[in-house]
Symmetry: C2
Subunit: 174 residues, 2 copies
């Protein structure tokens, strides 16, 4: 029976479909894989922004925005607020949609909001530490993902009145 605890998939085109999917050879389950939505926010407290140092891979030890996979039956805004609580124990007020980033290599669409911090913060289980950073103190050489740079830069431009969002990927072909 030991082999029954490991999934066993073959890749084939199911009847009526046009694309190859992973189909379980044991139970016939078709694992439709779709792009995933990441929801997150640039959280302001005055001129400072809230960043979390990741306690998990990928990019453990590097700094990121509070963000994560959108769950079923929530709005993106609710998901972004949930992630701020899970990763930074932060209660936030969500304002505008800051940006939509698409990263086809990893089949990800990111919806990043502008938000403000209401009250305190503390690391959640997926964060080593959480802190507020002034613009000049952002640890730019220890940022976890390119889209974190994009969001911080675009949010700062919007804040300075140089441009209005929502923004998209600043560079093609990541």
């Amino acid at each position: 029976m030991t082999d029954l605890v490991t999934p066993s998939f073959e890749t084939r085109i199911p009847e009526g479909d046009e694309r190859a999917r992973d189909v379980c050879t044991r139970c016939g389950f078709i694992a439709y894989e779709n792009p995933k939505i990441v929801v997150g926010s640039v959280v302001r407290a005055g001129d400072k922004v809230l960043l979390c140092r990741r306690a998990i891979d990928p990019q453990s030890g590097f700094w990121t925005l509070p963000a994560g996979f959108m769950e079923l039956n929530e709005t993106p805004e609710q998901g972004a607020a949930r992630e701020a609580y899970e990763e930074a124990r932060a209660s936030i007020e969500i304002h505008d949609l800051l940006a939509i980033y698409t990263i086809p290599r990893i089949s990800q669409v990111q919806l990043i909001y502008r938000a403000t911090l209401k009250g305190g913060f503390a690391p959640g289980p997926e964060s080593l530490e959480v802190d507020l950073f002034s613009p000049d103190d952002i640890p730019r050489d220890r940022i976890a993902f390119p889209s974190v740079h994009w969001a911080l830069d675009q949010e700062a431009r919007w804040r300075r009145g140089e441009a209005v969002g929502p923004f998209m990927n600043p560079v093609e072909g990541l």
Copy 2:
């Protein structure tokens, strides 16, 4: 062996997770379900828009935009163009992001673009017919989904210079 062709899932919280997921009792596969992304477009040919009459459920027989589920490893724009070809055999040029709609009841995020038609069109396998409609001829009482109304109305407002997108759901709590 007959029972092995049907998936058998139980709902439980996997180790290290916080939410109940469907786990196959036969092979241990965890079916993480995430919100799905629909990509589509309002396709213009002069003052007319392209609509498709659905050949499949839900809402078979009703009119809709060319739109469908985003696939892995494509950008939303590529997905919207692919759907225009699959449903309306239409080659399109994508312009701006028209709207982001979120429908948490069915865990869907829709990314709808503004586009123009390049060349002809014909029904694909999921469409009964495809046609171009002037603003006054749009079959408003035979539209498949509320978000199709939203997109047509918002695209017309943008076109008339009354507002600039990207838009969001016009009404809360669908």
